[in-house]
Structures are given as C-alpha cells and as structure tokens.
C-alpha cells in the first residue's frame, strides 16, 4: 500500500506486515524479536523499533515489556484516531459523521434484527433500559447510548461494521451532551430514550424494516438537535 516512502522504517513496516501475511499468522501469534528483525533487515534496532511501535500505535500488533510482540485482534484504535484527527483539524464536520453513522446503522440495525442471538438482543435491550434508569445522569445515559449502538453493530455479525461504528464513538462522546441539552425538558429526553427502546423491541421481534425505521427517525432527530444547537 502506497509508495515505498523512502525510509528504512517504512520498509521495516512493510517487512513486518509482509511477514504476517506470508506466515499466515493469526491474532496472538508471536512476531520475530526486534533483534531478529534487525539482523534480517540489516538496519539498526532504532529503525526496527520505530516500525514495531508504529504498528503497535495502529493496534495491528500488541507489545509489552519482556514479551515478544504478537499479532493483534481487530481493534478500532487507528480508525478512531483518524476520525478524531479529521474532526479536530476541521477537515470533517460532526454532521458528516452523523450522515455516515446513519447510513451504516440503518444497515446494522436491520442485520441485527435478522441475525441477533437471544443474548445479543438482551444486551441491546439492557442498554436501552439502563438509559432510562439512569436518565438523571447524562454521563451514564451517554455511555449506555454508545454501548447500545455498539451492541447493535456487534449483533450484525459483521466486524467491519463494528469497527466503523466503534471508531465513531469517540466523536460521539464529544458531542453527545450538546444534543442532550437541546432536549431541555424531561419529556423530550425520555422521548429520545423511548426511541432507543423502540429500536431494541424491533430487533427483539426480528423486524428489520421496523428497526430501520426507528433508527432513521432516531438519527433524523439527533441531527436536528445538533443543528438546532448550531453545530455546523
């Protein structure tokens, strides 16, 4: 991927990912030690370390002192960093993120309705219930809200959806409270929570169309709330 940007570190990164590929390594499998890689590539340990560290920052590998680096399980680390970077440098707007979320979650919710296990349906319902039970504590409501959406993505049984949805959670944490505040009355806030319960019920019933409808409504109201609050 991308040109061999002139640099030993980039080459080392390629070599490591190439090693994972050619050896067919799975998550948890150990990688060569830094010393071994140093000899193999004939570069200094500095270069090899920077390569390992870069992959670790992207969460493609796990590093810890004393142990060799291992292949990592799929993790949203890098993706959320990219999204957050885009937001903080104003290259993407919160509204644009919500449009993407809406697009994706209209699908995850439908898939969840079709594929969810009973356990997954229960987890989704539980998050919705916890939103209501904690509704005097915005922080808690937010966390259950986020968990709700991630649980739906997980129930879609497509880890790529989970990856993307989870990557957006960081942005959500920074803007959620704004939307909450625009729902100034208890009534408005409870209505928003009701929306989540409706989604959970539709998933429980296994009705993808209904679930998608409720999800669409939820997003439309959320975006409206953000716009009312002046988020460009």
């Amino acid at each position: 991927m991308s040109e061999p940007s002139p640099g030993l570190v980039s080459a080392a990164i390629q070599a490591i990912t190439q090693h994972i590929r050619s050896e067919g390594l799975a998550p948890g499998d150990p990688l060569p030690s830094e010393a071994a890689m140093t000899r193999q590539l004939n570069v200094s340990r500095t270069v090899v370390r920077e390569a390992f560290r870069s992959l670790s920052a992207m969460r493609l590998i796990d590093m810890s002192a004393g142990r060799r680096a291992t292949v990592a399980k799929l993790d949203t680390g890098a993706m959320s960093m990219v999204i957050e970077h885009g937001i903080t440098t104003q290259q993407i707007s919160v509204q644009q993120v919500y449009d993407v979320r809406r697009t994706i979650e209209m699908r995850t919710v439908a898939l969840a309705a079709l594929r969810r296990t009973d356990q997954e349906a229960a987890a989704i319902s539980r998050s919705a219930r916890l939103m209501r039970e904690n509704f005097r504590n915005p922080e808690a409501v937010m966390e259950h809200d986020i968990a709700f959406h991630e649980a739906i993505a997980a129930a879609s049984h497509n880890p790529v959806f989970s990856l993307i949805v989870t990557a957006f959670s960081g942005v959500t944490r920074r803007t959620w409270v704004i939307g909450w505040r625009t729902r100034s009355s208890d009534e408005a806030q409870l209505k928003m929570i009701k929306g989540h319960e409706d989604i959970a019920d539709a998933i429980l019933k296994g009705d993808p169309r209904l679930a998608a409808e409720h999800m669409a409504e939820h997003f439309d109201k959320s975006v409206k709330a953000l716009i009312d609050a002046g988020i460009a």
Copy 2:
C-alpha cells in the same frame, strides 16, 4: 481515546495530539521539534521520536528530513492498514467488506447524483469510459473501476465516505481479478462495464434513485461472482 497504556510513548502521542487540538492546528501547520518536545515532556528523544513516527505511520502528521513535522491532511493510510490486517489475519472476510461497501456506496451514489458538480460527473463518466476502452487489459480496467468508485465517493462531498471507500480499495485490488475471471465471456465482462456506465449516467442525470438501483445491482452481481469463485 483508550486507557493511558502505561508507557512514555503513548503519553507522548497523547501530548502531541493534544497539542494539535489545543493550538487549533490545521493541515500544514508545523509541530514542535523533537528537541522541544523532549524538553517539554522530560523524556528522551527516543520516546518522542517513536511517538512522532507512530503518528506519521497513521498519516496524522507528515514528516520529512530537515523539516519539522506538520499536521497532515486527511488520509486513508491507517484505515486501509487496519482493513488489510483484518483480511490477512482472517478476522474479516471479503464478503463482509463487500456488504459494507454496498451499504456505503448505495449512499454515496445517491448523494453524488444530488450533489455532483459537472466536473465530478465528467470524472465519473470518464472512468467508466476508460474501463470500456481498456477492457482487454484487466489491470487497467481494475484501476479505472477503483477510480470510478472513489470518484463517486468524492462527489458525495462527505470526506468520511471517501475515507472509508478508499480504505477498501486495497482489498479490492487483491480480489478484483477473481470476480473478473468468473465473467468468462467478453459479453459478461462488457455487461459489467455497462453497469458502471448506467451508474455514471444516472449520476449525470441527477437521479439518485436510479443511481442507487444500478449500484445495488452492480454489488449484487459482484458478490455473486465472488461466491461463485468460492470466496468465503
């Protein structure tokens, strides 16, 4: 984002991203030098360098010899690495990627039909035309195919969509030829190219519904081709 994984490097990464945020830096703006960061954080240059290098690997910053690091424009580098990692370690399947692509591109194509400039519409049509003109050269067809989808994402005027679509391009490059081969006859191959032209025309006409329909058809046939080829 994520726990302060015990480590000076992680702390340094946080400090740098925090600096970008608090100073409100925009793409192209320079970051502190390694030496400055070394003093500020009171750690060795080794640590600071690994932090910078990690951010550079994620394409959040640009580094080059002699110059200070600068804030980077939005780039798909990290995301495509994550996706490729998921594929090569068999944590996600090609079919799952296609499902996500279908979901997203059904939206980008509709947005493109509504928002595209004349220039963007022309670029999309051109890619489709180049597919036909080069159709004896699979490699070229593939590249124009990829460019076609990226152009549509760009015309959606939502960089997050572009980011995601482009992140998938690497996977496409590895599997595209498989789908092409299952279309064994010239007729079948030209039919697939016709599908792209239909999409381009719908975008040109500004008909989002028609564009989405053609896109759906395109993906359904592509997925079918992959399944026929035995891609799990």
